[in-house]
Amino acid sequence: MPLVLIVVLPFLGSILAAILPHNARNQESWLAGIIALVCAGLVLYTAPAVFSGEVLVQNISWLPSMGVNMTFRMDGFAWLFALLVTVMGALVVLYARYYMDPADPVPRFFSFFLAFMGSMLGVVLSGNVIQLVIFWELTSLSSFMLIAYWHHRQDARRGARMALTVTAAGGFCLLAGMLMIGHIVGSYELGEILASGNLIRNHPWYIPILVLVSLGALTKSAQFPFHFWLPNAMAAPTPVSAYLHSATMVKAGVFILARFWPVLASTDQWFWIIGGAGMSSLLIGAFAATFQQDMKGVLAYSTISHLGLITLLLGMNSDLALIAAIFHMINHAIFKASLFMATGIVDHETGTRDMGILSGLRKLMPITATLAIVAAAAMAGVPLLNGFLSKEMFFSETLFVNQTSYSSYLLPTLAVVASSFSVAYSLRFITQVFFGKPATDLPRKPHDPPRWMLFPSAVLVLLCILIGIFPEQIIGSILQLAATAILGNHIPTYSLAIWHGFNLPLIMSILALVGGIALLYVFKPLFQSYPGQTPVLYHFDGRKTFDAVMNGIDSISYVLLEWFSSKRLQPQVLWIIVITLVVGMLPLLGGDWLQVKQPSSFDPVFAILWIVGGACAIGAAYLAKYNRFRALALSGGAGLITCVTFAWLSAPDLALTQLVVETVTVVLILLGLRWLPRRVIEESQITPLQAFIRRFRDLAIAICGGLGLSALVYIMLTRDKPEGLSSFFLEKALPEGGGNNVVNVILVDFRGFDTYGEISVLGIVAITVYALLRRFRPPQESIHALENRHEIQTIDANGLTDKHSLPKGILLTPNVLGRLMLPVITLISLYFLLRGHNLPGGGFVGGLIFATGIILQYMLSGIHWVETRSRVRPLYWISIGMLIAGSSSMIAWWVDQPFLSAISWDIYLPVIGKLHLSSVIFFDIGVYALVVGATTLMLVALAHQSLRFYRKAPSAEAETNAGTSTQLNFSDRVN
């Protein structure tokens, strides 16, 4: 049980912390501290079991089918790290309590802090590699939030983004690596993976896996060449740095390298990749740290350097080096956290971290100075401190482990050089800040901080000394435990002692100490002349490179996006058509499909008709740009010929529908045409050649498209018909569908649901049109054009009001006739509706006819006249139509039939005789009503626009009153 708790508790605490009030600094600290301590206690609670060599495992099933479960696994190595994380966490919390300003929004800080702690513990305790990746990424995310805690500062934002980008990239690599490992091993369980080292090392995927895992680890541990994010992450509050960059975040990288050491290590590739990266980081970090001006900068680069040391040790492929690495992990965490804390105190007390300004603080804050000096000495590897021990082990490893010819000299030399730099920067850190004459121009007057703020640092420094003096007693068993967890039971012998005799490593240590002091003197002039600038390396500024890369990605992707997409419609349409043509053609390339199976007849009359139709289409295409009216008339002609074709080819229903739709469409587009000002022939903005090429291209595509469709139709027409649905429909229509007209029976019965959907589309479009037109704003020209047009007319309906029942002049007789036609048209629409089931017709045609009749009234008498007299409420028609259609379909439920089943009753009426009533008729009536409503709504709403803008035209003042009232009436009604 405790294993899960160790991970879960911090997350729960995180949520709790987030909801605490804004200024609850103490409560937050207590919460976080208690949680850290409880976790530490839980870790210690497992100690007996772990020390007895047991591996504690707790399994929670999560995604078993994918082999991913929440497995918490505690072995010695994990135990060590868990302890480190929790104890360090508790100390940092205590420190942060005093560090954070009362005005700081601490809930956010502690919330993310706890989340980070939980994630880190999750990484450490993961027994499943995918789970490990999850927590790994969580550390990236929560550290992102922590680094950006002071997000109003640009460096914080940038540092956070950089850290996130680099570590997330690494995380993705790690994921890939883990997936591959899991694939090879056949399980994502850590235990099984650790047992399959040989399998993985001999697999062809070994190198990619190695590279990917290394990428993950190196980015996280800020190793060369990914080290640049760490100095930038120093914008975080110092407790964050103290925690993340000493014991946890950056340690996750080396943790994972050590964790997978049994699986991936002991190959040459491992040595070159890991060792190489470690060596480079060691040198570069140490070198750069020497020249930093910012105290945290020094620590950041020294962290890089020390982690490079650990990485190098891990890369050496020797068991002893591994033990040294683990030892140094512990040591580094202890002294580096302490140093960060000291830096934070200095910053907190003086208001600056600039080593150029700071000086002589030893007098002002003696305790802090003492602590910092001891910790720095540990970092430099001064004897009797813990840093010395691990460095000693490192030196001996460089000497004895790798006996190839060139590395036997090179490696020790580089180690000494790096250590000299380490000494140099530690020395400089101390001397510049704490020695010399006291600084005068500090932002604040420094003094030692409260006791409890010094406490964490003091504890750590004490540990440094204790380990340095009594290594075996303090840390020996733990180190043994951790090493056993990785290496198994055959650990090489090593001794944790201060004095191994006067041997080569000791000489190297002395050399390093002396060399460090010498280096400081050599470089001293540089500190003054170029403060904060690292020689040579400043050319390779990581931040600038990163920014450049980011900007590069930005602009390249922008250019590529422009290249691969378009905000314009025509290229899009072109793509669709061309792709369809190509893809549609591909299957046919094999040939064998163009087999004409029936001779085709030729009918001259039909040919003449289609000469007309085709010419209409081409004419419309040609004229649509400047002669909209002509194009419209021509397309009307094409529609007419289509209608005749349907009639000719035995589709009376289609012919009827096509005809009415054609009529309504023409009226509709004409209504719209009124708002489209005449196109003037403008000067072309593109060159004639471009225009020609574009037109030619489009023409070619159009011809191809047309021919393709022709070919397809021709092939299909000359084929035999497959045994299809039609015979069923033809046979059942009359006996079971109860109608002679099979098409209508299909529409309202067999496939009534299509109709159901189709009328919905019509209704939806109608209300959309109506809604859109309420916000319609016409082009200015078209309002003026209207005035001009009205000037020409001399007589006519301008003054038509309620009192005049008829307009005078030319519209008189059309009006009389039109009104005469209204009942006739309505009657005929009902005729088509009622007999649709048996003969061509049906609700749709009927509805359109009726709508046309209404539109005719509008056309001939004007909106005002019609609407003061009739109460057409198109929206109600639509709604009621839908409701009728819907409920007539649902009637079937009452007799336990599925939706849309036809239910019929025979009623005997005295005079009329038998009346056959069917739900199908009601369905058709619903269709009728909806079509009437939708069509009228669209056309009338469009027509109303001119009413709305009529009163805006100054010439038509007479209309103002009438117009307004009508408008209101109408909107009332249609609403």
Partner: protein, 545 residues
């Protein structure tokens, strides 16, 4: 005899339609009745969808064949009449739609439903169309439902009008009309070749075609595939999407998150049914894979390059489409389950993200003055009275900013497929299954699996970079940042969606199992085909009179 449970499959279509029709009778001023009706309708739909889901999973006892429900509309037997088929895939999509729908509806009541008229009916109709498209087992009926939800989506996209909406709406409509033509051409061609429109019947008949008819059939399927790919926003057929989605008002855009997935659903469905007879190139296989990869890369490019947050989400939709197409284009069935998981996760996420982006926009520049955007078409005097009267924009809850930040963070993690939420689960499952297909030489499926892995990881990284940048820009950059006015009605749906993502990640195991079942039944389309065809012989054909 039919029990209530037997009628369930029709309800997701019938209920919104009747509700929408009723709403047209009510004036827009009767808001309480309208919203009440809307919520009643979505509630019924939700219950029905969940019940159907459990029925297909077998948790609710039923006499369905293979737990596949078949509803014969008009009581006409299968290949002749239209059938509604509820299998696991449909049920999942239904639930997804309605969850998204409920969230969008809650969100819209904050005030979006008053930006223009007839919001609620259109909303019901779009649900009707989506539900129908997922349920229908008839190819032409599928087209009809496509048209229904497209028509409603036109209306909703233009809801509130304004120059940006209208101009992007024009593109959207044009492209979709061309798509409709392609659908019509291909469906009729399929009818001409095989003589059937029923998808299950098609699955059997496609195998019986002779060679030359088969070629025509493949042409038809290719065109059909293009039409679906247009809906699914595959590159290069998707230039219209970012602008259109960014222009739509937030709840609508959120609902649009599922519309591209309808195209993918259709591809999967057709691909599955045509599988035994050798699915034509367009459905699955290398073509889909290649297009998907292109789309994925295009989406990634867009995410990297785009500065406008609204369009950014649009590109993330494209990216998710690309991922899905790529994954579904891989051979075998192993990737289908994870793909579906990814689909669910990405729909919920992008839906939440669209709503969120709108809220975040308010913190920029003019603060809560969102209306300046939505009412830019307010040149006309008579509209002023009608719609918005500042009653419920809501109070600024103190934690508004924190809520927005946290939600954005969650969304970003989900979209970038970073742990620990469902996005990561989906990505992991996809990658893991993709690796199953690899062997040691880099050709064939192995090659494509590697490409998928690389592309997905790269796109994830690109998303991290891009969303990190915009998150930093949106939340941490501006001095003029204002605490937004955030209505609880806007916060709730965002949280609902994000919480369902989290729930999805917690219950990833059972969900993944269910989806794996779904995938395996898709791999064995005879379950579906048999369910539809045997239904014909089980039920007595009534007289119909």
């Amino acid at each position: 005899m039919m029990g209530l449970l037997d009628h369930l499959p029709i309800l997701p279509v019938a209920v919104p339609m009747m509700a929408g029709a009723l709403m047209l009778l009510l004036k827009d001023s009767r808001r309480k009745s309208l919203t009440g009706l809307a919520f009643l309708s979505v509630f019924i739909q939700f219950s029905v969808a969940v019940t159907l889901l459990f029925m297909t999973a077998g948790s609710i006892p039923n006499d369905w064949n293979n737990h596949i429900g078949v509803y014969l509309l008009g009581n006409w037997v299968a290949p002749f009449g239209i059938v509604f088929v509820v299998d696991k895939l449909s049920a999942v999509m239904l639930v997804l739609t309605i969850v998204l729908g409920i969230s969008a509806l809650i969100y819209s009541t904050a005030f979006w439903d008053r930006v223009g008229i007839h919001f609620h009916p259109l909303f019901q109709f779009i649900l009707m169309g989506l539900n129908g498209a997922f349920l229908t087992g008839d190819l032409f009926n599928l087209f009809v439902f496509f048209e229904i939800f497209l028509a409603a989506s036109y209306g909703l996209l233009l809801h509130g009008s304004g120059s940006r909406r209208v101009s992007s709406g024009l593109h959207y409509i044009t492209v979709n009309l061309i798509g409709a033509f392609l659908l019509l051409i291909s469906i009729s061609l399929i009818y001409g070749v095989t003589g059937t429109l029923n998808m299950a019947d098609l699955g059997t008949k496609a195998g019986m075609l002779d060679a030359e008819n088969r070629k025509l059939f493949e042409t038809a399927c290719a065109i059909l595939g293009i039409a679906f790919l247009v809906k699914a926003a595959a590159w290069p057929l998707n230039f219209w999407l970012p602008n259109a989605y960014a222009a739509a008002c937030a709840p609508v855009a959120a609902l649009f998150a599922i519309m591209t997935k309808v195209g993918i659903y259709a591809l999967v469905r057709m691909g599955s049914l045509l599988l035994p007879t050798g699915a034509p190139a367009a459905f699955g296989g290398e073509w889909m894979y290649a297009i998907g990869l292109g789309t994925l890369l295009f989406g990634t490019l867009g995410i990297l390059a785009e500065k406008n947050t609204g369009r950014l989400v649009g590109y993330s939709i494209i990216m998710s489409s690309g991922t899905l197409l790529t994954a579904l284009g891989m051979p075998g069935v192993t990737l289908t389950g994870p793909s579906l998981f990814y689909l669910i996760s990405s729909v919920l996420t992008t839906g939440a993200f669209f709503m969120l982006v709108e809220l975040i926009k308010r913190t920029e520049s003019f603060g809560s003055n969102v209306l300046s955007v939505s009412f830019e078409a307010f040149g006309l005097d008579e509209d002023k009275t009608s719609d918005y009267s500042g009653d419920v924009v809501g109070v600024a809850i103190p934690a508004a900013q924190a809520f927005l930040g946290l939600s954005f963070f969650t969304c970003a993690i989900l979209i970038a497929c970073m742990p620990p939420f469902s996005g990561f689960v989906a990505k992991f499952a996809l990658l893991s299954s993709a690796l199953e297909l690899t062997d040691n030489n880099l050709t064939g499926p192995s090659m494509s699996a590697w490409l998928l892995v690389i592309a997905m990881l790269a796109s994830g990284l690109a998303t991290v970079i891009a969303l990190g940048r915009s998150g930093v820009r949106l939340f941490w950059n501006s001095d003029t940042l204002q605490t937004p006015k955030l209505s609880i009605r806007e916060a709730v749906p965002v949280s609902v969606l994000l919480l369902s993502c989290i729930a999805l990640s917690i219950f990833a195991g059972p969900v993944m199992d269910f989806l794996a079942d779904t995938a395996s039944s898709l791999d064995d389309p005879y379950q579906y085909i048999n369910a539809v065809i045997t239904q014909a012989s089980n039920k007595p054909i009534p007289g119909g009179q």
